[in-house]
Each structure stands twice: as C-alpha cells, then as structure tokens.
Symmetry: C2
C-alpha cells in the first residue's frame, strides 16, 4: 500500500474570533479569517450576530444567544489559542458569554474592535451595552482599537481630547488603545494623511499614512484581526500595530467596488492568479 | 489636496454561497470563502445554519430561518452573481428560501454539495429533507458533488451501481454529477488512489489521484466551492472540475492538524509568509 502522508505542521497559531457575520465578506468573521490567514494565523470563528447588510449599510442585526456562543467555544476547548479577537457584540447576553470564554483562557492576548456603528452609519449598540462593555470587558482587554467616534463614546463626556479619552480607557484596565483617525480626522493632521495613535500607560506612538480615496467596508475588522494575528505569531505590540496598519493599508489600496457603494478590502491580494498543478491522471 | 485613488477592479466574479458555519474554519462558509478567493472569485456568504463542532464531529446544528436567509440574500440583489454554491441545508424552510433565491438568478450556474453527514459521522439530514432536496432543488442544479454515500442516498435503493445512481440524478434534471470516491473507495480502484467521476448525459469522465493519508475536515466544501469559483471565472465544466480537484488535493496535502483529530485543509497555502511594506511614517 502506497499511501502519501500529508505535511503535519501543528504550529499555526490559532486566533479565536468573536465577530458578527457579514454576507458581503467585506467585514465580519469572513474578513477576520482572511486577515488572520494573510498575517500568519488560523482563525476559528464564533459568530456573535448574523447581519443583513450590503455595501451601503447594515439593515438588521440578529444577536446569537450567549448559550450558542458558549457551546460553539466549548467544543473548541481542547485547542490552544494564541490570541482572541472580539468584534461586533450586539447584546449583553452575548457579551457575557464572550467574557466568560476569555476568562477561561488566561494569559491569551485579547484584541477588541469596539464596533458601535456600521461604516454606512447604522447604530449597532445602545448606552446600556456600551456601559457594560466598558465596565466588564475593557479590564480584560490587551488592545482596544476604536476610531475617534468610538473612543469618544467609550470614554464618555468628561474627557475633552483623544489623549484624555484614551487615558480614561487605560484607567478602566485595558493595556493599550490604538485609535484610528480615518473616519474622523485628527485635528492638525493634513487631509492628505491619516494618523493612528497607540496610547499606552508609558507613552504614545503615532503613525501617519497617505489617505486613500473612497469609503471602505471592513477596514476596522481588518486592522483588529491583522493585529490579533501578528500578536499570535509572537510579534511585540508596536511592531504588530505597525504590521497590521501596513497590511490593512495594502488591502484597502487594492480594494474593489462591487456596484457603486463602499469598496471591499482585498485582503488576499497576494494570492497568485494561477492554475493548479494536476498530480493525477485523467482516465 | 493630494488624495490617492485605490485601484478599481469591478471584475471579481461573485460567488453567492449558501452554507453552514463551522467555527473551526475547516469546513463551511469560511472554507468556501477561502477556496473561492484562491480560485479567482469573491464569496458572498449566506449562513444556512450555525453548527457546534470541532475537528472530531458535529455536535449540534441550528438552521437559520428561511426568512433570515431571504433577507440576507435580498440585501445583495443589486450585485451581479457569477455562480451559486449550496452546501449544508439543514431544514426544509431554509431549502425553500435558497430555491427561491436561485430562481431569482436565472442562468447563473448552481453547484450543490449535498452535505448529508459530517465527516466525523454525524447525520445532518433526514429522509423528508432528502426527498424534498431531490424533488425540488436537483432540477435547478448544474453540478451536484456527492460522495458515494451521498450519491446512494440521493438516488435511492432502486439503483445498483454508481452509473445507475448518477443517471437517476440526471433524470431528476440536474446537468452533471461529480462523484467523489475518497471516503468510500470505488470498487476496482487501487487503495493507493482515489477516483472521481463526472457523469453527464452524453458520457462520463474520470480522474485518479494519489490517496492522501489522514482524515480531512472540509474536503467536500473545498471541492464544491473551488468548482463554483472556476465556473464563475468562465472555465468550462471539465476544466473547472479538474482545477477544483487539483486545488483541493493541494490544499489537503498541505493540511494541518490542530490537536489529534481531523486535518484542516490549508486552502491559502500560496500566501507568502511575509512582512508588509510600510508606506507611512512613524512619528
């Protein structure tokens, strides 16, 4: 018997993802999977919500129940997880389930993209959910990746600038805040550029990159998932933030526009356009 | 103002996918998305069911309602679709919704992977669902991709060999049947090889390829999704079948084993293991 043995490589770092599902593939758990694969990890995805949406806006969000989320995650409990990425959380019930699973994986870096609003403008969260998110989830988070709108909502009305707002989040107990300045430009930054800022207790770090024209569907998911994967493969925080931004910028730059609405990031642009070798015989 | 314009390439063929979601990423809609991307298309995925599973077996299947499936698909109605791929259908309600959407896209090739049983052995379908599938969906299908077990269940007890069974399916109105001989070897084929057969009204075509050791989680999803993508990019049926098999074989050969259970296909093996170029300035 001449059986071939496949290559065994058990060293693909698993990123456990809690995200909504977006049928367009621009955002949500499919987007996360792509970004994580392209950045060297393997995504295992637990849907937190099913959404009805297209490349214009989100029409409906149906949260997945906490008990379903727990069951899906518990079935994977034997597997090693190198990072956890949290995206859309659409109910307190599902938030509590996600937190419970995070607590079962102590020491695993947790990256949270606080999805409060769709890029088309639809609100995806209410005040009670935001409060619970800040009180209970933030203290367990290694890096949270809000845009400036989300930062302001999470920090509340008492802070007056981004640094104060980020500091408020750090005081909640999260380890780092990566604020993206794409949608709502940072004051003082040229309109031709975008500035992202990493806030940590011992100091800030900033990156500026050329602004891309157009509106994108899934840029926040892409950034946070790429960041989770880079941490999962063992990169340090600053390098992981840098690589995740570079990856996201490249994927957006190659974005494509189905119809006339938002662009979809092309996260797998590095795939060759190829035919596959045929190791078998047509008979 | 110096704004960069992203590349616009509206020519990525969209494959509309109806599949279950598998948290492991080995099978289901994430697997489909990867295979479709690697074969030149863009997947838009409508979940038909959420599943609780790991790399051993499926523990639970929760069908998504027909009304949710319709809403998700209707939100995408403006977009051109180049192929439709159908995987796990876990209820008659969702089957009827999928059929309705297929009818709204006349002329689009429909590829159906009849997922009746998980690769770990769990039954995913009952007799009533199989009957409804054969009566109502099969006549709308361009290519159905059963393994030998699924072929026998779909064809019923009256046929005695694969050719008769495939002919019974062709008589139901589907255009082609690609029977995979991996799980349940074809009589007369050496155990070191696997034979797949494409049955069409005007004749058969067969391929033999070296058998891989190990058990895989998601090989059927991978094959059918790759086939849908190759048809979506304009390949003919025989060439698309050949390319989809070659792609699947390569992805399985590079499979990896998280834990001690089934291997997961690595469909994105062509991605370089790379760092990303940084087109911006750290400040």
């Amino acid at each position: 018997m001449n059986r071939m043995v496949p290559a065994v490589s058990a060293d693909v770092p698993i990123v456990l993802v809690f995200s909504g599902h977006d049928p367009t593939g621009g955002a949500g758990l499919v987007a996360d999977s792509e970004a994580i694969a392209a950045c060297g990890g393997w995504a295992m995805t637990i849907p937190t919500a099913l959404t009805v949406q297209n490349c214009r806006n989100v029409q409906a969000v149906a949260p997945v129940s906490g008990s379903q989320i727990r069951a899906m995650a518990n079935a994977l409990e034997d597997l090693p997880v190198a990072a956890i990425k949290v995206g859309l959380i659409a109910s307190i019930d599902s938030l509590l389930a996600v937190m419970e699973i995070i607590r079962q994986r102590p020491g695993v870096p947790v990256i949270v993209d606080p999805v409060l609003k769709a890029s088309g403008g639809a609100e995806l969260s209410d005040a009670e959910l935001v409060d619970t998110f800040c009180e209970l989830l933030l203290p367990q988070v290694d890096i949270v990746t809000p845009n400036r709108y989300e930062l302001a909502r999470l920090a509340g009305p008492d802070s007056t600038d981004d640094t104060q707002r980020a500091t408020a989040l750090l005081h909640r107990g999260c380890q780092a805040v990566l604020v993206t300045g794409t949608d709502d430009p940072v004051p003082g930054v040229a309109v031709s550029h975008v500035m992202h800022t990493l806030h940590r207790p011992h100091g800030d770090r900033q990156w500026q990159w050329p602004r891309l024209a157009g509106s994108y569907h899934g840029s926040g998911c892409t950034l946070a998932a790429a960041l989770a994967a880079r941490l999962a493969i063992g990169e340090g925080v600053v390098s992981a933030c840098e690589q995740a931004q570079a990856f996201t910028w490249q994927a957006l730059k190659r974005g494509w526009q189905p119809g006339k609405d938002q662009y979809l990031p092309r996260r797998l642009w590095q795939l060759p356009n190829t035919s596959f070798t045929i190791p078998f015989t047509a008979v």
